[in-house]
Symmetry: C2
C-alpha cells in the first residue's frame, strides 16, 4: 500500500487559506481527507463528532498531549484545539492523501513531527505588488510604508520554512498550482523509493 501524501496549506492570516481549501475540495478529481481537529469545546447544533471535530474532554485532550499524540495544539478562550497525529497517520497509511489547513505557527510545529509532508505557503499577491504600489503612490506616510515592509519581512521569514510558495492572486490559479504540486510530489524519489525497494525484496525472496 502506497502511503498518502500530507499536504499542509498555510500562510499569513487573511491570505485566503479557507477559500482556497474549499475550492480545492470542490475539484472533481481531488479526493483528500481533510484533517479533523480535536477540541474540548462543546459541539454546536448540527456539528458531528469525527466529522467537524473530534470532541473530547479536557482530561482526554491533556492525556493526548502528554502521550505526544498532538501534532500541534493551542488554547483559545479556555478551550483546547489541536491536530491529532493518529488520525493523520492512519489515513496516510491507508494510502489516502490528507490536507491540513493551518496557521503558520501550527504548521511549523507539525513540520517538526512530520517533515515528509508537502508544506505550501500561500502568499498574498500584495507582496508582489507592494513595491510598485508604494512607490507609485508616492504619498504614503512613512509609518504606513514601514509597517507594510515589516509585515512583508516577517512573512518572508516564515516562508523559508516551507517547500512551496503559491501566490493567491486568483483562487482558480492557486488551486491549479496546488494540484500540480500534489501530482509532482507523488513523483518525488523519497516517496516512490520504498515501493521499488519492496518490489525488489519480494523479487529476491
Amino acid at each position: 500500500m502506497k502511503r498518502g501524501v500530507l499536504i499542509v496549506l498555510s500562510g499569513p492570516s487573511g491570505v485566503g487559506k479557507g477559500t482556497v481549501r474549499k475550492a480545492l475540495f470542490e475539484e472533481p478529481d481531488i479526493d483528500f481527507q481533510y484533517s479533523i481537529s480535536m477540541t474540548t469545546r462543546q459541539p454546536r447544533a448540527g456539528e458531528v463528532n469525527g466529522e467537524d471535530y473530534f470532541f473530547v474532554t479536557r482530561e482526554e485532550f491533556e492525556t493526548e498531549i502528554s502521550n505526544g499524540g498532538m501534532l500541534e495544539y493551542a488554547e483559545y478562550v479556555g478551550n483546547y484545539y489541536g491536530t491529532p497525529k493518529s488520525f493523520i497517520d492512519r489515513t496516510l497509511a491507508a494510502g489516502r492523501d490528507v490536507l491540513l489547513e493551518i496557521e503558520v505557527q501550527g504548521a511549523l510545529q507539525v513540520k517538526e513531527k512530520m517533515p515528509e509532508g508537502a508544506y505550501i505557503f500561500l502568499t498574498p499577491p500584495d507582496l508582489h505588488a507592494l513595491k510598485q504600489r508604494l512607490i507609485g503612490r508616492g504619498t504614503e506616510a512613512m509609518a504606513v510604508i514601514e509597517k507594510r515592509v515589516s509585515t512583508a519581512t516577517s512573512e518572508i521569514r516564515m516562508m523559508a520554512n516551507y517547500d512551496y510558495a503559491v501566490v493567491n492572486d486568483e483562487v482558480e490559479l492557486a488551486v491549479r498550482r496546488i494540484k500540480d504540486i500534489i501530482n509532482v510530489e507523488r513523483l518525488r524519489v523519497h516517496r516512490v523509493l520504498p515501493e521499488y525497494v519492496e518490489m525488489i525484496e519480494e523479487l529476491e525472496e
Copy 2:
C-alpha cells in the same frame, strides 16, 4: 532577474532519455537551452561549434579541468567529452532554463557541484512490470531472473540520489510529468525566496 532552473534528465542506459528529451524540445511551450557539451574530437560534417559541441583542443580541455570548469567529464576512445560549468551558469543567470541529458555517473558528478538542479531519473516501465512478468512466465531460468533482479537493484540504488522518478511507460506521459515537474520546481521556496528578499531589501532602502 530570476535565475533559470537546471533540469537534469538521466536514467539507466536504454531507458529512452534521448527520445524523451527530443519530445520535450518539440513541445510548443518549452523554451529550454540544451546544455552543450565540450569535446576534443574533430567536428563532423555539418557540426557547428557552440551548437552541437564546443570543440576545443586537448590542452584547452585539460586547462578547464584543472581550473575546475567541468561539471563532469570522461574520456572515450582517446577524446574528452564533458559539461562546461560556465555555459550553464551564464544561461541560468540570464533567467533561462537549461536541460542537461546525461548518463547516471555524469549526473551524480554534476549534482555534487550544482545540487540546486532538479534531478529526474527516468525509470524503465520494466521495473514496474518485472515481478508480474517473471512470476507470470513461471519458466524463466534462475540465472535470467537473478540478472534482472540485480539490474533492477542497482538502478534503484542510483535512483535514491535523484529528486524525481519518472516512469517512461509512454513518451507523451513522461513528457507531461517532466513539464509538471518544471512548473512546480518554479514554486519551490528555495527558488523564489531570493526574489522576495531582494524586493524587501529594495523596499527598505
